[in-house]
Assembly symmetry: C2
Homo-oligomer: 399 residues x 2
């Protein structure tokens, strides 16, 4: 049981700091029923969650299965003041109404994944505001400028003479201080957050928190292209508020490789179940497309309902089959009316007119995406898309 | 009048930023009687003021003569939290009692120089505490890390890998913010404060204060040695709470060069009066020592009373005359008792016994620092310091 829990917790992780701590916490839960805390921070400035954001939530849900109370931290403090960093576009300062609205939208989505009864929603404004000027300065005294400039992005920007506002040095400290205040046992975040996650560990030590948090880093999920990270600005994302049909369709559009990545990071199937699917595909017993459909159904049902997911699958199949015309089709022309069977042969779609007639009878021939059955059909002046089976297409212009 | 004021204000300054602003403020005072504000910050961690600290106070007093209200800023905010900087010795955090005691001692001394009716004592804790976490971060967002690292000491320490706490980047910002809050027209400080003084100007602009403060930088006063800056740790200082006798004596011990520097930076004599003294010395009409005595009297009277200063002068002259024996004196010996006049000739102090007798009669001869009058005196076995006039000495051993 402990081993299985550890395996599921380590699943998909990019890096874990202090796995011993995690193991001890799990052990205390299994042996004594002792709960522990897992913190993850969310920035309420962007109201639109996409699947990339849910990687963390899935991991938190896994932790909840094994005794964790989740500290769902809303970074409303920072959101309220904006992040006046050296970024080319300064982050917009949000009104408290905007923030509340975003948080409501966030948590509604999050509880499709998390167990609400094992989740504490906490707002860092409630303790960071009371730090005050003095507390802020004391916090800033715990770290050196040199150490800050070791952070990858700071170091690059400093070297490239890209401005870094002094305040940007304060944000990692504040994030770390959240862990001090919450006395978190574990914190999870993306690999891009490594510096800040370790800051929590370090500050817990500085501020005499009894034990330092373990840190789990999740990889950044790739977008639909399978290469760049999923992000709204790259338009390669699947939003958790996407319509069921869009969500389903987008998942079916990903590569097989990315499908397995999604299984690892987003599915609630166990590692054993996923291994079974993999074996099925490699043995030829399962078509990758059907495995992908299963994934699409699972995820669509999560954010909508099973019924809507099933309907999305049906709709997809219908639309998909109707829109299977490739964008590049070879073009032919005929001088004057032409018999359909001959046209199919002239356009290299059929080896012979007799084969063409057989295929028409079996319903394997379409003109402009409509099945035909008339083997004597004459094509008159006009443009036609001819199709045999699923993959063979030609355009014919009859003059 | 305006020109004279400008001349007195520029007197001794190491650097002035925005002299036009100063001129306009003075003009508005002379034309319309409009007052303006001059800020200077004092750190209440070190209770012992020395003359080096009073250079600023003298300049503030000059400003008060020409229409300024002085913003006597007590840096109690920083003092209360300590300065957890990368210094080898971390600054001690002071209790509020300590700070109050130091401030009382400070202001008592300061009002020996400043016009109390034209002075506002302000405590920066009163507005810096209410900045809060958010205000502190907003303040930190106004400046870049690169700009901070341009500050001389930061740049040196960063290059030398000497730790700089992130909080140290916040102090200059806080000091600058003081000028925002106070809407100071002018700030004065030491040349070593240039970065922080300019920060006030910059932040006033950022925070939309109507006009930016002019900045006056005063040089760092040299200590008794005339080379290193006056400081307690170098033990080359004159404390404002030194006893009158010590103060007077220390001033008389400085070089003539340093004396003119003290006149420029510490005396309330006008530039014209000082020029007259200089002319007197260079024409041979005045002895430098008497000019030095005048300075010592002025400064001693400022921190004590005229009576105590005069008494100090008298005491000094007495002690000084008693200890006028050079440490290196030529030594002679005589075999058996010897007549004083002959002894003076043998020791090359007199050209002849007749001249010796004349000098003894006129009281110009001393033995062991006591005047003698007996021209027939026989020196018996023993050791004697013989002296003729002020400068001629000899040691004589009579066997």
């Amino acid at each position: 049981m402990l081993q299985e829990a550890l395996r599921e917790i380590q699943r998909g992780c990019a890096e874990i700091i202090d796995i011993e701590r995690v193991e001890n916490l799990l052990k205390a839960y299994f042996d004594e029923g002792k709960a522990f805390t897992v913190k993850a921070g969310f920035d309420p400035t962007a109201p639109d969650l996409h699947l990339g954001h849910t990687v963390l939530l899935q991991k938190m849900a896994t932790f909840q299965k094994y005794g964790a109370r989740v500290q769902f931290l809303i970074g409303d403090f920072t959101a309220a003041i904006g992040d006046p960093s050296g970024k080319s576009v300064t982050r917009k300062v949000l009104s408290s109404q905007d923030i509340e609205k975003n948080i409501a939208s966030y948590t509604t989505q999050a509880f499709k994944i998390l167990d609400e009864s094992k989740t504490d929603i906490v707002y860092n404004s409630s303790w960071l505001n009371s730090l005050g000027t003095v507390g802020m300065i004391e916090l800033a005294s715990t770290l050196t400028v040199a150490r800050m400039l070791e952070r990858d992005d700071f170091s690059k920007r400093y070297t490239a003479n890209t401005p870094i506002a002094v305040s940007e040095f304060l944000y990692p400290l504040l994030q770390g201080y959240d862990s001090v205040h919450l006395k978190s046992d574990i914190e999870i975040g993306g690999t891009d957050q490594k510096f800040n996650l370790l800051m929590g560990r370090q500050l817990q030590k500085t501020y005499d928190v009894k034990k330092q948090q373990a840190v789990l880093m999740m990889p950044i999920l790739e977008g639909l292209d399978g290469v760049q990270k999923m992000s709204k600005s790259l338009n390669n994302y699947i939003g958790v508020t996407d319509e069921a049909n869009d969500m389903y369709g987008k998942i079916l559009s990903i590569s097989d490789e990315l499908m397995w990545r999604f299984y690892e990071l987003l599915s609630t199937k166990t590692l054993d179940e996923i291994d079974t699917l993999k074996a099925g595909v490699s043995d030829g017993l399962l078509h990758p497309k059907s495995v992908k459909e299963e994934l699409a159904l699972e995820i669509t049902a999560r954010y909508h309902t099973k019924e809507l997911a099933d309907a999305a699958k049906e709709e997809f199949q219908k639309v998909h089959s109707q829109s299977q015309i490739p964008t590049e089709i070879e073009e032919f022309s005929a001088d004057g009316d032409i018999w359909i069977a001959k046209a199919l042969v002239d356009c290299n779609l059929e080896p012979s007119t007799s084969q063409a007639r057989r295929d028409i009878k079996q319903g394997a021939v379409k003109i402009n995406q409509e099945k035909i059955s008339d083997i004597e059909l004459q094509l008159t002046k006009g443009e036609y898309v001819l199709q045999v089976g699923k993959r063979k297409f030609a355009k014919l212009k009859v003059n």
